[in-house]
Amino acid sequence: MNVKNVIIVLFFISILIPFCLINSFFPFYYYGMFAESIQYTNQQESFVITYTGKFQEEYPFSSNRIGLSEGHFSYIVRSYYYQDRIQQLFSQLHHILEKNEKISRWKLKKVHHQPGGATVLMDQIIWKPQEQARQ
């Protein structure tokens, strides 16, 4: 087998492996965009992050402040939440924003959306940077 044939075979393997394993292995892509059934893609849960500023008022945190889209940021939040690393997420956000703002408390709410449109609070995590610093 000459070099040309080896390259051609490797090229096809790089295409077929993500297809067979249903996953992207960057730089080899799986092309499952918009393929998932909507019963799975339909998000029934969402995460809301708020922070308390220097006047003790609570503000919603917008992902635009760190230059990420809402969809991308919720992806990150979900990841950190289920891997039990939410304090690490708060610590990172706090590190980015503390230069411009004094923040005394971070809060995450996990909300479940019911079929009728109602929402139910499922979980709530609070993180205080001062307490963390003292520890």
Binding site: K4, I7, I15, C20, L21, I22, N23, P27, E45, Q92
Partner: protein, 389 residues
Amino acid sequence: MQLYSWIKLFGNRKNKRGSRNLFVCILGIVWAITVLGYIFFVREWVRGISRNLAPYWFIQLVEIVYPRFNTEKHRFPADFFLEKADQVILRFSLLALIIGVGYYLYYFNKNFATKLGEFWNQKMDKLQVERLRMIYSVITCYLVWDWILILNKLSLLSGFYEPVFLLRLLGWGFPPMYVCLLLYGGLILSLLLLLSNRWVVISASVIAFTFIIIQGYFFSFHKIDHTYATYNYAVCCMPLLLYQRQIALKKGLDVVAAWPLLLIRIGVATAYLMAGLEKILIGKIAWFYPQTLIFYLNQHESILYHLVSQYPVLATVLSILVVIFEISFVGILFLPKYSFFFLACGFIFHLSTYFFLGVGGLLSPWILVYVFYIPWENISFQFIQKNND
């Protein structure tokens, strides 16, 4: 002793037919063991993996292959993962079947082997490579000009960095800003060298390396994007194409081996094919239900949403058209005469996804990569020709 004589019968290297039979036998045995192993053991492990009721090594393996499993297992029921595991086995079986049929046709059908040989040994005019080199350099410059700004933005978020497969293999963390500058500088300098026809193979190789690595950093923040997915085939195969051009120049030939260009074309066409197949294999019939498209349009706050929700049949027609387009795009490889028709359909498809779903852009890399399907050597550029003279 019996086993030895059996292997000797099938695997005699001098006997080509024997070694071919051995290959088919091994393929069949591997496939049978995989399917049986899946049915009797692995399927049960997949069912229990969300509750840690699987062997430790299997859980570790799943975490390596599917790093997001730990997050998604809380979101989806066990059946969701079981369905995926069934799909994996189905796809490997399909692949084994295709390899088996391809192998049989190659060795037992002379016409097929000749046609395949002719396909991979195609030549093209060196003018095609010259023009592609220039067009590729300009397009890539356009695609990457703001990458240093993105790297700068991401450097502030380095706490969220989780390397993608390639960077995980290399063990690279998020680089300090001076390394980002070096990578970006190397990319831009190589593009300028390629445009000015200097050290073309080395420049194209540096472009391929930096283009993929920088992109790897972009997608190491928990989400892989498909923006450059098809363009990556072009980036990775351009050094090979330019190397073939160099060989032709050294030999004083006017024609260049076309197989690297064919790889780019195959890569792009199969991307569409797989995107279409996924909709059938994963979404199944549900993908054609009007609710599916209506849901996606609503999710993206599309202007088409109200029209389609009033006329659900329109949603089904559009869904069918999308799948037909994606699966039939591969026809561009076999019907080069009609390539402009396929490209026009692709252009309309991407414009529609941009306007109605907000995916991609007017000059998205998925559209720009179409330049590799255009026979540039047949197009007359009087201005360039005069300059060359």
